[in-house]
């Protein structure tokens, strides 16, 4: 049986706005990546490493799976 393709998804944009509407650049500076990387993660075009995902979750003081999840 063919397995249904699952997709990596996130609530990053929502968390940014809940966190004093922090800009993509500011978040990028805090976790040590480029603004484009944050933008690409938000739009679902780039899947971050576990390390970067943990750094982002740590910044927002939430669990990693609160921000990142698999959508089916």
């Amino acid at each position: 049986m063919k397995q249904k393709k699952s997709k990596f998804a996130n609530n990053l944009r929502k968390y940014r706005f809940e966190h004093n509407e922090i800009s993509q650049q500011e978040l990028a500076n805090r976790v040590g990546v480029t603004r484009l990387t944050i933008h690409s993660i938000e739009t679902g075009k780039f899947v971050p490493s576990a390390f970067l995902a943990l750094k982002i979750a740590e910044f927002f003081k939430v669990k990693m799976e609160d921000i990142f999840y698999i959508s089916k």
């Binding site: 650049q25 040590g32 990546v33 480029t34 484009l36 780039f46 490493s49």
Partner: protein
Amino acid sequence: MKKFLYYITIILGIISSAFFVIDYFIFYQLRPKMVTFELITKGEENLLLFVGVGLLVFLLFYLLSLFKIASYLKRAKRITAPLVLLTTVGVLAFLFVFSDFALLTDIDKQYRLGLAQPEWSLVYPIMMFQFIMAIIFTYLHLYGFKPDNQIKDVAKDHNVFLVAQYIGLICGLLGLVFTSLGFVFHRAWNLHLHTTISSIILLLPYVLIVVYWFFMKFKEESGDLYDEKQIQDVGKSAFVTMAMSVFFMILLFVFNYNNLDGMVRVLWLPFYLFSTLFIFSATNLYYLKRG
């Protein structure tokens, strides 16, 4: 140091603009004599030396202007088309200083050998373009590079990396076009001038921006050259570049199979260098723009 460089650049800009005007009058005086092979006096020969000093001033001014543009780009809120255009024409104005030198040397050599000097028709438009660029750059140094269009802190660079790809694309394309001319005009091809020197000149802008990028990376706190998205993009681009360059080199080999004394014998290296630079920059830009 920044203030010092700012004043030096503006002074050099003003001196460069003045040099262009003076050079025009020197050429206005010397050209008719050189074209008709009249004898040039010692004083007039010294004027040519003066033109040479002017070329050094242009070189320094354009170099400082390009560094200013690069540092402005680093913190720009957005990389807009005018910014990319400005960088490109700035690089061209810089490159044309070398062509000025080559053209004027050729003219002098041909005059001494009693040969025609068709290069004069190229000197005027190129120097006019450089003169306009000197004025635009001086104006921009004075009023154009506004701090309100800048981001305060950038922990990890994206802009310079992006512009390096644009410059790679332009240099790669120009190099490919220039190298391809060797196949068309192979009888007039001069290995030293048209291959070695021109390849170095066309690669120089890319080398400069990459050196600047490396220099910037040493100042970044993280110590990594790329962030993880960039490393993924560079990896994909490197793969596409390898696959396509192998294909192109096989084509070149087939093309040269029965022609061992042909132009391919001397042009394969610039062809390889510029095609890989072009493909790598183009695919990198594609992945960067795709997000």
